[in-house]
């Protein structure tokens, strides 16, 4: 047993118990305890890093039930995630001590975020898909609890419900995929003494598995896994929950809905990448097309939103699309695609956490006023925070030499290589979507930033805002430093994930300049409109295209008003009607059983002679039955 590996997720679990138990009496200690426990995870992850460097991947497991095992599997991929999750989570916890300092229930908040971190780290190091799924559900639960943390706000309560229900759709499909995989592995001779759903077994024997179960079946399994990933990572069309989830505390949005939990789906696809790779071609193609379509789709919707957090939420959806499409490009690039995707995942976690927390600092100063139309001129009022927001925005739009530039433009270049290799129309789509997505990213990011930072304050609150104390901002500085410099480790990172990784080559210079050109256009256009007061004079509200975007392409309308209210609710009512009829018969059974019990009780009348009569009659009857049955 390699204990530091287990300690990675056990430490925040202890933190969960302690910060709630002690925090009940001493509210201020809760945050410190939770942060310390996550520091423990970070240290354990770093120690494990050294261990993995010297001895290779760690696989500790024990038999759990039947032929399913449980345990930890730590290789380079899970280490990268573990270090990223514990580091970002630590930074966010530190900032949350400031952000939540006046909340009366902050001990519950910290206990829940510690539990969330435990679940997320457990998911990262789990050695078996069943255990993985358990942690997957645990983070889902924590997400539900934390979105609804301010449950007294009706919006928050319904957002929590929506998040829970929508992700459940994906989870169910994931579970079906697991069951299908398990079922089709019965009788597989390569199984040996392995557990059928053990992750190391699946990834090392993927080609043999594919030969045994057939490429098409494995492809269906892979697509079901992708559906699970889409629910958790909020990909089209299951992305509708994440903008609503912004009703929770901003630190929660930073931790769960930007940096860690929503990347769990990407991690799942990366984790079992070999299953995708060795299954039918449609599996990885659906990954790339889903990712790139979501990237542009969410980018477009982001253009029509005014709420600062929701803009960031749509940007998260779009960026996760980039990660997924990078992995999907693995159909051509093999494991190198995973390297591309994982690097963007890590970089995105850092700069998105930075963006969310600077937004959080703004919201604290503005008493939770989230409408960007009412901000303005904040760069003068709160220079530190807005500079941090600016750094985050630069990384998000992949401004040259920031970390986002290295991680994202590599993916766009790779998608061009993908097209150049296949040369078909459908292989052109990823590049088209991703590079147009880059334009959208620039547009919505600077639309938000210029509105927030430039001009004159457009509300009383904005006029009187000021920076939080510099101590509270320390974690943000750390993240800002990361956002600017992480690009330096690009090549070492790729080689760490997969030693054969290389940068996409043979991309024409013109093509390489396309994203940069889009970036330049985007900045100029947004400055012209939103850097000045021009946007106030524009009125698109009658334009049908504007309406379409403003209503998020009617997807929310479709799900909530049509699917839920018109279809599921009447259906449920119909079932209720049937059930009421049926219930009556069930209740009848119950009351009859109770009556029968009464009759039995009367037999038990306390007269011992009767007992013997019943005994003799009963046993004789049983004897006769046995003898009769024995004859036939």
């Amino acid at each position: 047993m390699y204990w530091p590996g287990w300690f990675i997720f056990i430490s925040p679990l202890i933190g969960f118990v302690l910060s709630y138990g002690i925090g009940r009496k001493r509210r201020n200690l809760a945050g410190i305890i939770a942060s310390l426990s996550i520091l423990g995870s970070l240290i354990a992850s770093l120690v494990t890093f050294l261990q993995v460097q010297s001895s290779g991947a760690i696989y500790n497991h024990f038999q759990w039930f039947y032929n399913i095992n449980a345990g930890i599997y730590i290789d380079h991929l899970s280490l990268v995630m573990a270090i990223m999750v514990s580091f970002v989570s630590l930074m966010i916890h530190l900032f949350a001590m400031y952000y939540m300092k006046d909340d009366p229930n902050r001990h519950i908040y910290f206990a829940e975020t510690a539990l969330f971190t435990a679940g997320m780290l457990g998911l990262v190091v789990a050695s078996n898909l069943v255990l993985f799924f358990l942690f997957w559900e645990l983070v889902g639960l924590c997400s539900y609890l934390l979105i609804g943390f301010w449950f007294f706000k009706p919006n928050a309560a319904s957002a929590a419900k929506k998040a829970f229900i929508v992700t459940r759709v994906g989870d169910l499909l994931f579970l079906v995929g697991m069951a299908l995989l398990y079922e089709s592995l019965t009788g597989f001779t390569g199984l040996g003494s392995n557990s059928p759903l053990s992750i190391p077994f699946l990834i090392t024997n993927a080609s043999a598995i594919s030969a045994y179960v057939g490429k098409a079946t494995l492809g269906i399994v892979a697509v079901l896994f992708l559906a699970g990933a889409a629910g958790k990572s909020s990909q089209f069309p299951l992305h509708v929950w994440i903008p609503d989830a912004m009703e929770g505390p901003t630190t929660v949005s930073a931790l769960i809905h930007a940096a860690t939990m929503v990347t769990a789906g990407v991690y799942l696809v990366a984790r079992v990448f070999n299953l995708f790779y060795f299954s039918a071609d449609f599996a990885l193609y659906s990954v790339v097309i889903l990712g790139s379509f979501t990237a542009i789709f969410a980018g477009i919707v982001g253009l029509f939103v005014n709420d600062i957090k929701r803009i960031l939420a749509y940007s998260t959806i779009s960026q996760i699309g980039y990660m997924l499409s990078a992995i999907g490009l693995g159909g051509l690039f093999g494991y190198t695609g995973v390297s591309y995707g994982m690097f963007h995942l890590v970089v995105h976690a850092v700069f998105k956490a930075l963006l969310f927390m600077s937004a959080g600092a703004i919201l604290i100063a503005l008493m939770d006023l989230r409408d960007t139309r009412l901000m303005g001129g904040l760069w003068k009022k709160m220079p530190l925070t807005i500079t941090l927001l600016f750094i985050g925005s630069l990384a998000l739009v992949a401004f040259p030499l920031t970390s986002g530039y290295f991680s994202k433009d590599t993916i766009i270049d790779a998608s061009w290589v993908y097209y150049a290799h296949y040369g078909t129309v459908e292989s052109f789509l990823p590049w088209l979507f991703l590079s147009l997505g880059a334009l959208m990213t620039t547009l919505y990011t600077f639309r938000m930033f210029f509105r927030v930072a430039l001009g004159k304050p457009r509300s009383h609150l904005a006029e009187h805002s000021k920076d939080p104390s510099i101590f509270a901002l320390i974690p943000l500085f750390v993240l800002a430093f990361g956002s600017l410099t992480l690009g330096l480790i690009q090549t070492p990172f790729y080689n760490y994930i997969y030693s054969g990784s290389s940068l996409p080559t043979a991309v024409p210079f013109n093509i390489r300049m396309v994203p940069l050109a889009f970036l330049a256009i985007g900045i100029v256009v947004t400055y012209a409109i939103y850097g000045t007061d021009l946007w106030k004079k524009l009125d698109f509200s009658r334009n049908p295209l504007y309406k379409l975007g403003k209503n998020k392409f009617y997807l929310d309308y479709l799900f909530t008003n049509i699917l839920a209210e018109r279809a599921i609710v009447p259906l449920a009512a119909g079932f209720t009607l049937f059930e009421n009829r049926y219930n009556r018969s069930v209740e009848k059974t119950g009351s009859e059983a109770l009556k029968l019990g009464d009759i039995f009780r009367k037999i038990q009348n306390g007269v011992i002679e009767n007992y013997f009569i019943i005994l003799i009659m009963g046993i004789s009857l049983i004897f006769i039955i046995i003898e009769l049955v024995g004859v036939f």
Partner: protein, 483 residues
């Protein structure tokens, strides 16, 4: 099958195998002597407790695993050891809570408890109908004495019923053993190679199930149990429904799986019918029960029905060395282990009510007075119902799993339906505890002798769910049943 190689041992040094038994009996006599000097009852309870603990350790250390003595009459194996330890624990379990009901002659209570335990240990290792009968009878007579402790008429009435039915059961056992001898020509229990289903064997089957089934309280031999559990002191009810039931269970396992291995077809039909009737009868009668002690008594009848499902599985496979048979027996063993804590603990939890007869309404509002006790009691009830995260869940899970593996899925469906029914009345108790206010100025007895055993059993019940990891070891022991 068994990895333990049997060594036949004769001669005087066989006496050394009985050190734990001799030790327990000696201390029993010492306690009797102490009674004449008016020693305090709590001292005696502690002495008994530690004696049993030492006895348990001695049994564990000194039992010569893999030895058979007196021509196969007694066989020491880890299967017997497992049950001997369970029964010792169940005796230890009531030492402390029994203090509450003892008003006089406590030395007799504790000495008898020790003697009963001696009988139980011997029965666990016996593989012969005569020694089984003697040790079984030693336990029966001891428990008549234990059940009579208490002050009320109800109490005496219960004891007398127990005594009468017990005596009749004895007669059935003796007659059954004679028929068994007529059919097989031996009293020893060992696997018979040839299949013989003579009328004598069939009669022996019926007579022995009546005789031994009394103590396990299976339908239709269950009726004394309701009155006696209701009338006796809570701790004695706990013992009767836990330790003494496990004894009957291990005896039934041995007699019917070994002695009647030649006639598995009849054994199969017998136990299928008995288990269905027992489960259903126990659960349905408990539904409308308002007397809490009787409710638990009926639930205890139902649990006996689950326990004997094991015999149905094993006899249906017909092959005692098969994996399914081992799984079934091991699940029965695990069930017995969990069962003594969940059932014993629930009866002891009733000590918190200061009435003689405990109605459902008497526990209402317990959660307000002592949340910890109410939660512990609730855990025990949930375990009995087989709700996950308790040992009771895994016990039922494994049992039903063995049913399905053995191809008796329809029986598993009946058993699961029965469990579902049982949830109703267990939850009813929980609803009363948590959802209602105390009746009048109801005072609960919340002294340590009530709380500690209940907390302990609730904790153990939960911890036992982790023991599932240890289950493969139990499967290894299970094959020891067959000598």
């Amino acid at each position: 099958m068994s990895s333990e190689i049997l060594v036949t041992s004769t001669g005087l040094h066989a006496l050394s195998y009985f050190i734990p038994v001799i030790f327990l009996s000696l201390v029993g006599f010492i306690i009797l002597a102490m009674g004449t000097r008016n020693t305090g009852k709590s001292i005696m309870s502690w002495i008994t407790f530690f004696t049993l603990a030492v006895g348990g350790v001695l049994t564990y250390l000194l039992t010569p695993i893999g030895t058979s003595i007196f021509g196969g009459t007694l066989v020491f194996n880890s299967f017997g050891l497992y049950f001997a330890l369970i029964m010792i624990i169940s005796s230890m379990f009531i030492c402390y809570p029994a203090l509450k009901g003892l008003t006089a002659k406590s030395e007799i209570f504790y000495a008898t408890l020790l003697f009963v335990t001696v009988g139980m240990i011997l029965a666990a290792f016996s593989y012969n109908l005569i020694t089984l009968f003697i040790s079984f009878e030693a336990v029966s007579i001891g428990t008549y004495v234990l059940a009579s402790f208490g002050k009320s008429r109800r109490n005496l009435e219960g004891t007398v019923k127990y005594f009468f039915t017990g005596t009749i059961a004895t007669a059935f056992i003796l007659l059954g053993s004679s028929f068994f001898y007529l059919g097989t020509g031996t009293f020893n229990l060992s696997i018979l190679a040839t299949s013989i289903a003579t009328p004598e064997i069939s009669l022996a089957l019926i007579f022995l199930i009546v005789g031994f089934g009394f103590k396990l309280a299976i339908f239709p031999m269950h009726q004394w149990a309701i009155d006696t559990y209701d009338g006796a002191e809570n701790s004695v009810s706990a013992f009767l429904s836990a330790g003494s039931k496990v004894l009957a269970y291990v005896v039934i396992l041995k007699v019917f799986l070994l002695g009647f291995s030649s006639d598995f077809k009849d054994v199969y039909y017998l136990f299928v019918i008995l288990s269905i009737l027992t489960m259903t009868y126990g659960n349905i009668s408990a539904l409308s029960q308002n007397n809490l002690k009787r409710l638990l008594a009926y639930s205890s009848v139902a649990q006996a029905g689950y326990l004997i499902l094991v015999l149905a599985v094993v006899s249906s496979t017909g092959n005692i060395t098969s994996g399914v048979a081992s799984l079934a027996i091991a699940s029965g063993m695990f069930y017995s282990l969990v069962y003594i804590f969940m059932k014993g603990g629930s009866f002891i939890a009733l000590n918190s009510v200061n009435h003689e007869s405990v109605e459902l309404a008497d526990v209402s509002g317990l959660a307000k007075k002592s949340p910890a006790l109410a939660v512990s009691f609730a855990i025990l009830l949930l375990a009995l119902a087989g709700i996950p995260l308790t040992g009771g869940f895994f016990a039922k899970y494994l049992l039903f799993l063995s049913l399905i593996e053995g191809g008796l899925w329809w029986l598993a469906v009946i058993a699961i339906l029965n469990s579902a029914i049982s949830v109703f009345y267990y939850f009813r108790v929980i609803m009363y505890m948590f959802g209602r206010n105390p009746v009048g100025d109801q005072e609960f007895d919340l002294t340590r002798s009530v709380k500690v055993p209940v907390y302990a059993s609730a904790t153990i019940t939960v911890v036992l769910s982790l023991m599932i990891l240890w289950f493969p070891a139990v499967i290894n022991i299970a094959s020891g049943l067959f000598g």
